[in-house]
Amino acid sequence: MDYVIYIGNLMALYATLAISLNLLVGYTGLISIAQAGMYGIGAYITALLALNFTHDLLLTTLLSAAGGVAVSLVVALPALRLRNEYFLIATMGFQSIIYSLFMNLELTGGPNGLWGVPHPQLFGFTFNTSLEKFLLAVALAVVCYVLALRVTRSPFGRLLRAVREDQTAVSSLGKSVYRIKFSIFIFSAIFAAAAGTLYTYSITAIDPVAFALDESIFIITIVIVGGTGSLNGSVLAAVLLILLPEAMKFLPIPALIAPQIRQISYGLLLVFFTRFRRQGLIGEYQDVLK
């Protein structure tokens, strides 16, 4: 039973990561490969706080989000001045830097990571079962979904899509493209970092591999398979792509090569969707990635 709840927990966390990334990739046309890095920032800040200072849920979530904002400022200031593929490469660079820091700093425990994270507390209540932690992850995903929906349906959301279509035209209308991109980049990082917080509390031990480039590519795969510009698509694809490797465990694949098979199948999905079904499972737009 715990196993099923754990899978559900992952689905909710990846739904949050995918929705927040979709705001960048699908709505604004900012293809960021740094989402796992932002996720990791939240996870590590939470682990360090919980191990050393406080495991108050609200406080650690807020401080992790603040850390996500701080790091995304560092990424955004140079990267958002760049266009398209240069932005992508810049975020990939930051992803690698963040990963290297996790891997090599003494503070983050190097390749072994951090473990023994205590259960989170909120107003005297301790979340110590996996079901309770699962419900936290679902709550975060719901909040993220509702706020993302609100943003995308607002005049601000209209400007996001306008930026995706034609930045020069947006600035000719008296709107600052930089401000628009900057706001959504920060918003996205806050939710990625908050997902990191709940991830740390869920598994109580973290290591750098969970926040490597592969993870960023996995999150972007969810966005593309679900459909760029579709929040529902991101939720659906998060559920399906988390289920996929679990389902494959029932196939007679040797445990030794299972992770590779998993990577290959994600790769194939990515190729298939970008080549044959650009709107994703339920997406609206076909050529965001043109």
């Binding site: 706020l147 609100r150 943003v151 607002s154 005049p155 601000f156 959301g157 209209r158 400007l159 899509r161 306008a162 279509e165 034609d166 020069t168 035209a169 947006v170 600035s171 000719s172 209308l173 008296g174 709107k175 600052s176 493209v177 706001s183 959504i184 918003f187 737009y285």
Partner: protein, 261 residues
């Protein structure tokens, strides 16, 4: 009809503006001014530097030297969105519509200083935001109606016909409430009937208090609409004046009207 550029203080002044791309002098020591409430046309053959002038005015390109004054204040060096906010709106030769946004969204996006344009305001929501959004949407619908695009509100811009796209581009331009409108070949590619329609619209815009700087290839339209004509050749101004004067200027006939002796 014609006004000489020295009669009032002009809305837009270009002073000794130059821009080179590598060895190519796209615009060279260009000076002219645009009177408020007038239609000024910029004419010249392909590669004369007309669109470069637009890009310099709107801040999409930085000038190598020279000044641009709008309402008496320097605007050269400002980023494009600040120049647009100051009151200069432009259309593009290749339209640059938001292709996969609805016609309504294309126009609504251009309305200045909307409450819900900030992320924070849109997250907070509230009754005032909703009221402001409704009001802006109604304005956008009104503009679409004026441009005979009623009924196409929800169509994606890319689904409209070329003529409708040009109208939509004009709607987006008008939604900015800019005082000076830079129109880059507004009638190119249109049917004769629609060309007439556009000319009427441009005239009515001036009657409503707008000022227009026009790039146009159709000489008949230029002669009919303009209060003032500036002729460019290889990045330099070779003549300017009221349409009749320019029409009789020999060098214009050589370089632009294609009448060679």
């Amino acid at each position: 009809m014609s006004t000489s550029p020295s009669s009032n203080s002009p809305l837009l002044v270009l002073e000794d503006l130059s821009k080179s791309f590598g060895g190519l002098r796209a615009v060279h020591e260009l000076s002219f001014s645009v009177q408020a409430g007038s239609i000024t046309s910029l004419i010249g053959g392909n590669g004369a530097g007309k669109t470069t002038v637009f890009n310099l005015i709107t801040g999409n390109l930085g000038a190598d030297s020279g000044h641009i004054l709008f309402r008496g204040r320097r605007i050269d060096g400002l980023p494009p969105h600040k120049i647009a906010r100051a009151g200069i709106a432009r259309s593009f030769q290749d339209l640059r519509l938001f292709s996969r946004l609805s016609a309504l969204d294309n126009v609504a996006a251009a309305i200045p200083q909307q409450r819900g344009e900030s992320l924070l305001a849109s997250l907070l929501g509230g009754a005032r935001l909703k009221a402001a959004n409704r009001e802006n949407e109604a304005r956008a619908r009104g503009l679409l109606e004026q441009l005979t695009l009623a009924g196409h509100e929800e169509s994606l811009a890319e689904q409209l016909s070329y003529g409708q796209q040009k109208l939509l581009g004009l709607g987006r331009l008008l939604a900015t409430e800019g005082e000076l409108l830079l129109l880059d070949e507004p009638t190119a590619g249109l049917s004769p009937g629609m060309v007439e329609d556009f000319c009427g619209r441009i005239r009515r815009l001036v009657d409503a208090g707008k000022t227009i700087l026009l790039i146009e290839h159709n000489v008949e339209i230029v002669m009919r609409l303009s209060d003032w004509v500036v002729v460019m050749h290889q990045g330099e101004k070779i003549a300017e004046g009221v349409p009749e004067e320019v029409r009789h200027n020999v060098s214009v006939m050589h370089t632009y009207l294609g009448i060679s002796s």
